[in-house]
């Protein structure tokens, strides 16, 4: 097996582990958003275990890359990655959404070191990421800012204010990822308020757009590498995914946007995820 294949296999294995931890956490919490966490798992695995320059024992390391999860309700998949990297003790994962936990239902930077921005009000994260990228540009810093958005989220007008701003200011230290999982809370994105043609929209705003299968680890790694080499403008990776990916009966079903599986469903989901080894 070549080096690239090994790297891909390793990250695919990590993505599967993150999905398993994610379902366990949400099940234990009794509430949460499995669909959008599962669709994001492959990109999150690539980011946290291959791309981002981080020091888990030093979360405020000044030269770290920044990651802003604009679709804040999907934070459990990031918590799973952070725990695996050692940002905090894995036992904390059981406290997700519980009173007093630093693992809030949506991320809170004041309660958990390593969270760059508190999010959860959709449409706002990209603006915050743009501000961080602007600060990096003013300082001539080498770190980059990564921001993941949801596809329902880009219905919000503020996203397009940020989309217009970033290329105008040449923010090539900014890489956005659209988790284009096709489904939002109450239905298909195409039915609620269609965002197509989404790649063309970002390109028209001046972004370097890379359109990929967001469950293909090779394509994810290539896209992230390409995005890092873009000069003079920000990059947008349109990551075509399936909401609920990995648990067949959750896939593309809006019912699994915002509810936890019960005990029986949890067992079935975990069996499917583990069987996929």
């Amino acid at each position: 097996m070549g080096q690239r294949e090994e790297r891909i296999r390793r990250l695919e294995g990590i993505a599967r582990e993150l999905r398993i931890t994610d379902i366990e956490m949400i099940s234990e919490a009794g509430s949460g958003h499995p669909g959008g966490t599962l669709s994001a798992a492959d990109v999150v695995a690539a980011l946290f275990f291959d791309t981002l320059r981080l020091k888990p024992d030093q979360p405020a390391w000044p030269d770290r890359d920044r990651f802003v999860l604009s679709k804040g309700h999907c934070i459990p998949i990031v918590y799973a990655a952070m725990a695996k990297l050692g940002f905090f003790d894995a036992d904390l994962l059981k406290t997700l959404r519980k009173l007093g936990s630093p693992l809030q239902g949506h991320p809170d930077r004041t309660r958990l070191s390593g969270i760059e921005a508190s999010t959860g009000s959709l449409g706002q994260g990209l603006s915050i990421a743009v501000g961080m990228a602007l600060a990096g540009t003013i300082d001539g810093a080498a770190w980059r800012v990564y921001c993941m958005l949801g596809d329902g989220e880009v219905q919000a007008g503020q996203v397009w204010e940020a989309a217009m701003f970033a290329p105008r200011h040449g923010l090539d230290n900014l890489i956005a990822i659209l988790d284009n999982n096709q489904v939002q809370q109450t239905g298909k994105v195409t039915d609620i308020l269609d965002i197509a043609p989404i790649a063309e929209k970002w390109a028209a705003f001046g972004w370097h757009v890379i359109d990929i299968d967001g469950h293909d680890m090779g394509q994810i790694l290539d896209a992230l590498a390409e995005a890092q080499h873009v000069s003079g403008r920000p990059a947008m990776i349109v990551s075509r995914t399936r909401k609920g990916k990995g648990v067949s009966w959750m896939e593309l079903d809006p019912a699994w946007h915002g509810k936890a599986p019960n005990a029986e469903e949890t067992e079935r989901a975990l069996a499917e995820l583990r069987g996929g080894a």
Binding site: R66, D108, R109, T110, E116, A117, S118, T119, G120, S121, G123, Q124, G125, L126, S127, I128, A129, V130, G131, M132, A133, L134, A135, G136, I138, D139, G157, Q158, E161, A162, M164, F165, H169
Partner: protein
């Protein structure tokens, strides 16, 4: 008539600009917010966000989370109207953002209601950690800007479009959360903030002619409110009148009422401010019509005291 507090801000922010953490943002209003001089002197730290204030607030947040001290400047109604952005991206993050709102109250004048922030203090006062500062004149604005450079946490600076009386002296200090008594008196206390401080002083001089000695307190910080100043005014004067170019709901008057409602002190309270939308007119005409001029305040105080 002295300078508008927005004019003083424009000069003060240039002086503060030698601190390289400062970044000034605006939404196509560098002229109106008086940030042109900063833009010329520090172009690399001036950001025109265009007419996109939601994004401006988010960008300010990201800058602050990266160690900058951003000042997001616009007409107050346009920037504080992005309440959800201020709530999440600024307040909840505990971000060192300064929201600068100019063109506050009916003092805006001829442009009319759509440009007049009458609800901004009420909105931001509902957030638990945003300092709300409204200097009374140009000198105090300079002192407030200096103090806010190093303030930890989010802050809102509320500034006038129109010129206001110079009332605080040549070089006043600025102690966040500490109200300043500008005139002593024990028959009634007038608590005012921003442009209405000058009107309250005029009213006090007017009332003195009738033998009514009014204390005038400049409440330059509405949050954290100076409880002690309110309670001592209540104890020593027995009657309080608040005067603000803002809605009577949720602003200075409400803040003072909340202190009295704790039961730690008691006094009669009259809240003077706006109870309707505004309209076009000269600022002085509008202050007269809506009861904020010194003469109208004095009239209201006399009726309140039954004198």
């Amino acid at each position: 008539m002295g300078a508008a507090t927005r004019d003083a801000f424009g000069r003060a922010i240039v002086d503060a600009g030698s601190d390289e953490r400062l970044v000034v943002l605006t939404g196509d209003l560098r002229d109106s917010t008086r940030t042109e001089a900063f833009a010329e002197k520090y172009p690399e730290r001036f950001v025109d966000c265009g007419i996109a204030e939601s994004n401006m607030v988010g960008i300010a947040s990201g800058l602050a989370l990266s160690g900058k001290v951003p000042w997001a400047c616009s007409f107050s109604c346009f920037v504080t109207g992005r309440f959800e952005q201020i709530r999440l991206a600024v307040a909840y993050q505990q971000a060192n953002v300064r929201i600068v709102g100019t063109h506050v109250g009916i003092g805006v004048g001829e442009d009319g209601y759509s440009q007049m922030a009458l609800e901004d203090v009420a909105a931001l006062r509902a957030l638990p950690n945003v300092a709300i500062v409204q200097p009374a004149d140009a000198a105090e604005t300079r002192a407030a800007v200096r103090a806010l450079v190093d303030h930890e946490g989010p802050a809102f600076l509320r500034l006038t479009r129109q010129g206001v009386d110079d009332v605080t002296g040549a070089d006043p200090g600025f102690d966040l959360g500490r109200a300043v008594t500008l005139r002593d008196g024990s028959d009634v206390a007038l608590l005012a903030s921003g442009a209405t401080v000058g009107e309250a002083l005029k009213a006090a001089r007017d009332l003195a002619g009738d033998g009514i000695e009014a204390r005038v307190v400049n409440v330059h910080t509405i949050r954290p409110l100076d409880r002690e100043a309110v309670l001592s005014a209540a104890a020593e004067c027995g009657a309080l009148v608040t005067v603000e170019d803002h809605s009577t709901t949720g602003g200075l008057g409400s803040a003072v009422a909340e202190v009295l409602a704790t039961g730690d002190g008691s006094a009669r309270l009259k809240v003077i401010g706006m109870t309707t939308f505004g309209e076009s007119g000269e600022p002085a005409e509008l202050y007269e019509k809506y009861g904020l001029s010194g003469a109208r305040v004095a009239e209201t105080v006399r009726a309140f005291l039954d004198r």
